[in-house]
Subunit: 262 residues, 2 copies
């Protein structure tokens, strides 16, 4: 039977999960997807994500792939999965891709958003999706600090202390901070992110915004390559994986009608 | 000791409550507020809302008042309450008002919003706040139907069957439907709303939008004064109490610095 590669674009609320990846304690998004795919296909497909998200982190556009011999066409997996997934995990798209497509190895970058609710009182309705901080921020100082972070750097100071990744060099292509009404919205784009990297950057930028660190301290922190120099790790619930980027060739959606693969 | 009237503007997620008002089964918003106020003031203030919201209905701007002899100034109740309220109930404002202010009797109208998510797949992140309907709608037909509803009418056909309210005449001053990306957003303003009135109107308008009823049927339904003629009651989770209106005189905020009352 023909083996097909299926790509999924996934939205999820991270609140009730231990993160994307299997963990001995707690239920992961990956695990829930595999359980549902087993019910649909009768096979036990391994679901490969573009990368992990931590416990409590949300996704609007996580990407994953799996292999199957199911007769279902690529786009049909969306409805089949949405019919049985728990309501805090939703498939936004499903499509068949060339066998060369790999959710992790084919990706070229990611876009994340971090949201701080910055006013004197919290929000009931948006509570699961923001970090509430009532203090006034110096946005200009925060923006000045971001200039040291953008570019290719060894981000060891912004990596979770327990992480054992050896090559900590990443390219941060965009770090934008905008005030939108009562929100401070951070957008990060880069070719890869270390464990907790964005949340430690946000935690450190918050200290700059509150005047506890000067913008220029960011350069020292970066050069120290020492997690202890940076600020606290911002809480998970303000972080969203917005989008995973792929080179056009990797998916070939623009080249031909993707449904012709099915 | 001096008796003071305190006004609250309250945001809440209705999901985990049996509604605004005390119920034998389940916890109400009103009850939670009174329990927290007892802890703050040592008194047992009765919290009077502008009106009820049903189980599962959300609020961005519910208004309530209570009487107290507490030494706390009006604006200080916001922080005191937010410090001990569960995180799905938030005080957006608190202020001292003239003794004549009454959250229910002084109000002149309300604004509600109902949100339908109208695309082929649901949302994980917005699931508690929308009614997901994937079918294509005829928005023009729905808008035509709304013309029969706006104005002063006996809305008996749009009242929960079990309700025993005798005077069902209300003035609906605004009923607007807009498409905003994947959402259909309904805005209702009026001088008062019967139990389930908005949810039955939304359920009936949905049937018009799906072609199951003609726009002109809305006139017949209204004139029949019979709940059985209208459509189904739309689910609670798409409904938000946005704002309660008061005549300027009722609050006198524009006349003098409200803090001078404290």
């Amino acid at each position: 039977m023909e083996q097909k590669t299926i790509r999924l674009v996934i939205e999820y609320v991270g609140t009730n999960y231990c993160g994307w990846q299997f963990q001995p304690n707690g239920i992961s998004i990956q695990e829930v997807l595999e359980t549902c795919l087993e019910r649909i296909t009768g096979e036990k497909p391994r679901v490969v994500g573009s990368g992990r998200t931590d416990a409590g982190v949300h996704a609007e556009g996580q990407v994953a792939h799996f292999q199957t011999t199911s007769r279902l066409r690529g786009p049909e997996f969306q409805r089949a999965l949405n019919g049985i997934l728990p309501p805090d995990i939703v498939i936004r798209e499903s499509s068949r891709e060339p066998a060369s497509f790999h959710a992790r190895f084919s990706q070229t970058g990611k876009r994340y958003r971090y949201v701080i609710l910055n006013r004197s009182f919290p929000s009931a309705l948006r509570r699961p999706y923001v970090w509430f901080l009532p203090h006034p921020f110096n946005l200009e100082a925060m923006r000045e600090a971001t200039r040291y972070l953008v570019g290719e750097h060894d981000f060891a100071s912004f990596q979770a202390a327990k992480s054992r990744v050896q090559n900590r060099v990443r390219v941060l292509t965009l770090l934008d901070i905008q005030r939108q009404d009562d929100d401070l919205v951070f957008v990060f784009e880069g070719n890869g992110f270390l464990k907790h990297m964005i949340r430690i950057m946000v935690g450190t930028l918050v200290e700059v915004g509150l005047g506890k660190k000067t913008p220029a301290r960011m350069k020292e922190i970066l050069e120290a390559r020492d997690r202890k120099k940076a600020g606290r790790t911002a809480p998970a619930q303000g972080l969203f994986l917005e989008r995973v980027y792929y080179a056009k060739g990797a998916r070939e959606r623009e080249v031909s009608d993707v449904n012709s693969h099915d």
